[in-house]
């Protein structure tokens, strides 16, 4: 028996070792990469990670950039150009979870110099002293969409250079619906008619899920005067001390959610796993989603159109959150001068913005680049117009306290478990308590 027990311990010990080997970062053969990069100024292909581990910073390179896999090729191209022009070496590494891996690696002094990420990480990154201010000349900043520039600011300080904006809109099946509806009532009427005729199974596909989705529910609140998540402070930024999810406007939005839930237009059974499939199999003629859904719809051969979100009766048009993709410079960058140079001088270039557009298909943040793309790509123009009224997603850390309680509240309202007024009031209380916890 003792032998057996010892064997079991040995097995679990080995398993623990194997696990830690997977979880830990396996170093890339340093001798090879060092020799390769020291000679050539271009590194060619982005370094792909092993598993989900954070990339290992290469100490022999003059500038290290972390990005996700999608953007890596475009970033690599201009990083190479930058390297050749300045006689330095640049390495682009793919990070599977840039937000967390950047925070963790920077904490122990092994982070990259530049990262590519979303603007709503900003508050958290500033809070942890991981990003440095990026001082863009005012004439350069004026070339960008003002909302994109606003999104890169926290407490009035600017922390990066934007390259794309994204937001949700209404996707509709042109074969079933020739013209997009302007109002939600019209949308529901059209959809219900199609269901009755047997041409569709349900009216709308929108990500709700059992725990709710604050990002997709927010536009219902913002359609009404005074509805939303956070009020604004004197400087025009979001104020974590002003939670307005239970304001009169927000409650009106909640009532719409309740009504649509009752009509089965919105359902907690639709979530990220089936949202696209419902639209792509023509089960639903309408879908509220973002640019990430386009590729799948194209692949499924859907004749889709993109339109702004409809307006709600008694309020105005639903206004989505704007997400801005941007380049950050690490506050602990080992190559701060090159990092600042790359971000302030390269990213605002039109050709760079166009190349980044090609990989992400999100409207570019540089006006000049957007105009050129919008002239030939109707999708981009449509996404941009769907987001014209939108406000940037809050980048304050307090937003972390909102997703859970607010999302669940909207799911409960849609499922008919609680009335909008009391449920949103309870959510507001919970959010405030979470923020107070700090």
């Amino acid at each position: 028996m003792h032998k057996r027990a010892l064997g079991a311990v040995a097995v679990t010990g080995v398993a623990a070792l194997a696990l830690s080997a997977c979880g830990g970062s396996s170093p890339t053969t340093p001798s090879n990469t060092a020799a390769g990069t020291a000679k050539a100024t271009t590194t060619g292909v982005p370094e792909t990670p092993t598993g989900t581990a954070a990339p290992v910073r290469d100490a022999n390179v003059d500038l290290v950039i972390w990005t996700d896999a999608d953007r890596s090729a475009a970033v690599q191209k201009y990083a190479d150009q930058f390297a050749a022009e300045n006689g330095v070496t640049v390495k682009v590494q793919i990070s599977t979870d840039t937000r967390q891996q950047f925070k963790d690696a920077t904490k122990v002094g092994k982070g990259p110099d530049v990262i590519v990420g979303a603007h709503d990480w900003l508050g958290e990154l500033v809070q942890n002293s991981t990003v440095a201010p990026v001082n863009l000349a005012s004439d350069v900043a004026a070339k960008f969409l003002p909302k994109a520039i606003d999104a890169t600011k926290f407490n009035g300080q600017s922390y990066g250079v934007p390259y794309a904006v994204e937001n949700i809109g209404l996707m509709y099946n042109k074969d079933l619906v020739p013209n997009p509806p302007k109002t939600m009532d019209e949308l529901v009427a059209t959809g219900e008619k199609l269901v009755k005729e047997g041409k569709a199974k349900q009216v709308l596909s929108q990500f709700v899920s059992k725990v709710g989705n604050a990002y997709f529910a927010y536009p219902y609140l913002s359609a009404f005067e005074g509805g939303g998540i956070f009020g604004l402070n004197a400087q025009g930024g979001y104020d974590p001390n002003k939670v307005i999810v239970d304001s009169a406007g927000s409650v009106k939005g909640g009532d719409v959610l309740a009504e649509l839930g009752k009509k089965k237009v919105l359902s907690t059974n639709v979530d990220d796993t089936n949202q696209d499939a419902l639209f792509d199999t023509k089960a639903a003629p309408f879908m509220i989603s973002g640019p990430w859904s386009v590729a799948k719809a194209k692949e499924a051969g859907i004749n889709y159109g993109i339109a702004p979100l409809p307006s709600l009766t008694g309020g105005g048009p639903m206004k989505p959150f704007l997400g801005v993709q941007m380049f950050y410079v690490s506050s602990k960058a080992k190559n701060a001068a090159l990092a600042q140079e790359f971000v302030t001088n390269y990213i605002p270039r039109k050709d760079v913005q166009l190349a980044l557009f090609e990989v992400g298909k999100r409207p570019p943040a540089l006006k000049e680049a957007y105009d050129q793309v919008a002239a030939t790509d109707p999708d981009v123009k449509a996404w941009y117009e769907a987001g014209v009224d939108g406000a940037p997603m809050p980048n304050i850390p307090a937003m972390n306290s909102v997703w859970g309680p607010f999302g669940q509240a909207t799911a409960d309202i849609i499922a008919g478990k609680a009335g909008a007024q009391e449920r949103l009031a309870a959510a507001a209380k919970e959010i405030e308590a979470n923020i107070a916890k700090g």
Binding site: N241, A337, E430, N434
Partner: protein
């Protein structure tokens, strides 16, 4: 094996272990962790002392196990316990001094209307580019050239100066210009440069070729321990409170950067005084206990039954069946749990479609719990099947034959002979399985996220385990609070440990059968 070969192998292994300890120590030294270097050195010496000499024979057997236990069991526990007495978490990662430096450095704003310069970085001619004081060669928008250093801005005579089309100075007599790589190598010095201007600001570089005039809006007074923000009227004063810089006039407003500090037992007091925790704890604990016990029993029974079935010598193609049955175990839970989630969907899931039911599996308390138990049964039985198969094959045939000769029927043999012998082998594994399922975070998080949530309270879900609950408790605030999470982990650790003690006593009793 002949003695010289054995000796050679022994010494190669000892040398490898010592070299390993040395490599680890070097890495730790690079990271500047003195205490850990000493410990790694002591481990290396210990290996030498234990295995290179003839003394301490029992230690030769004990040392590897003890070492691994310290490394993988004790160290994480100590580290977690240590963390639970701090406020470590987002916004509280660094020291107070670092927070002050960061706040002041990040508050530099461009002076409105000030010119933006084109910049080259240089040193005095014949001075070392690696160490000499850096000098900024600046061109203002009108094309006038300047020399800037820590003493201030002086005009640079245009004679002999060549400029790029952008206005950036390329050569200047008396100065050596640095290349991009040379500038970059001195990033740290460059970030400290601020050429003082007459209005109290400083000209600071941006990247390699631009400079702007900026002014910090925050200032720190060490004597009073206050940070003052001069960008507001009147200036806002921040004082340290609760490991954050807090606005004296309006305590709800704090600066984002806080610092790490010891908080004593505060995290533990919060656990025991938090009202939602007190109310939710009992129901979560009972469900957690039920979940773990039911998971272990159901997977064990199913796994054992199949193992008994497949252990029959008359069955053909056993290899094929066995490989197929191991599949659920071999697939990653991240995939299978999500597939099950899809199958349990009320409107589109295959389970409701096949059975003709309309059960809201993931949206009701009972449905969610049933879904979780079913999924865990499917995920867990292959493991039990493997261990039972192994254990059954080690039960000698003659014991069974003896039972048959004594007139025992199949059920009696199973109950009195096979089961006790089987339990000796798998008993400890059942305990391990219990501990694992007690903290089965992945399954709950992927399948229900702890939901459904009732009564307008998203802090307690009806399918929550203690661990998923603790996760939400610690991370539902504005910022992940690792210190608090560590305190909750310590409490869970104590609970699991206390519950395991009777279990281990019981396995000891089983051992006596052997």
């Amino acid at each position: 094996m002949t003695k010289p070969i054995a000796l050679a192998i022994k010494w190669v292994l000892i040398a490898a272990a010592v070299v390993g300890a040395f490599v680890i120590a070097t890495k730790l030294a690079e990271a500047g962790n003195t205490l850990a270097v000493v410990l790694a050195g002591m481990v290396g010496l210990g290996i030498l002392a234990i295995y290179a000499t003839r003394r301490g024979v029992p230690l030769k057997y004990l040392a590897p196990g003890v070492l691994l236990m310290i490394l993988f069991q004790l160290w994480p526990v100590v580290y977690t316990a240590n963390l639970s007495f701090t406020n470590y978490g987002d916004g509280h990662l660094y020291s107070k001094e670092e927070s002050v430096t960061d706040i002041v450095a990040q508050s530099v704003r461009e002076v409105p209307g000030a010119p933006r310069y084109k910049m080259s970085v240089a040193v005095k001619e014949r001075a070392s580019v690696e160490t000499a004081d850096l000098i900024l060669l600046l061109t203002d928008p009108a094309g006038a050239t300047f020399v800037g250093d820590t003493s201030g801005l002086k005009p640079l005579a245009p004679e002999g100066v060549t400029k790029a089309p952008s206005g950036k100075i390329l050569t200047a007599p008396g100065y050596t210009l640095l290349t991009a790589r040379q500038v970059n190598a001195r990033s740290a010095d460059l970030s400290k440069i601020a050429v003082p201007t007459s209005d109290g600001g400083g000209i600071k570089p941006v990247g390699l070729s631009e400079a702007f005039e900026g002014k910090p809006t925050m200032s720190y007074d060490a004597a009073t321990d206050r940070i003052t923000d001069s960008s507001t009227t009147p200036p806002t004063v921040y004082a340290p409170a609760d490991a954050r810089w807090t606005n004296v006039a309006n305590p709800s407003q704090t600066l984002p950067q806080g610092w790490k500090e010891g908080v004593g037992l505060a995290n533990y007091t919060r656990i025991f005084t938090d009202s939602t925790l007190r109310e939710g704890f009992v129901s979560i604990f009972l469900w957690n206990l039920f979940f773990a016990i039911f998971s272990v029993l159901s997977t064990f029974l199913l796994g054992m039954l199949i193992a008994l079935l497949f252990n029959d010598p008359r069955l053909r193609f056993k290899g094929v069946y066995r490989s197929l049955l191991i599949l659920p175990y071999a697939l990653p839970i991240f995939v299978t749990a999500l597939v099950w989630k899809g199958m349990f969907n009320q409107d589109y899931g295959i389970i409701n479609q096949l059975t003709g039911l309309n059960v809201d599996w993931l949206g009701t308390d009972l449905g969610a719990k049933t879904a979780i138990l079913l999924t865990n049964l499917w995920l867990g039985f292959p493991y039990m099947f493997i261990v039972c198969t192994g254990a059954l094959q080690s039960i000698p045939q003659d014991v069974r034959e003896a039972a048959t000769i004594d007139g025992a029927n199949a059920f009696r043999t199973l109950r009195s002979i096979i089961m006790p012998l089987l339990l000796v082998a798998v008993g400890p594994l059942l305990l391990a399985s219990f501990a694992f399922n007690f903290n089965n975070f992945g399954l709950i998080f992927l399948l229900t996220k702890g939901g459904p949530f009732n009564g307008a309270d998203t802090s307690i879900g009806s399918s929550d385990l203690l661990i998923t609950y603790a996760y939400r408790l610690a991370f539902s605030g504005s910022a992940p609070n690792y210190g608090f999470a560590a305190a909750v982990s310590v409490i869970i650790f104590i609970i699991v440990a206390l519950m395991s003690i009777p279990g281990f006593r019981r396995t000891k009793a089983l051992e006596e059968i052997n």
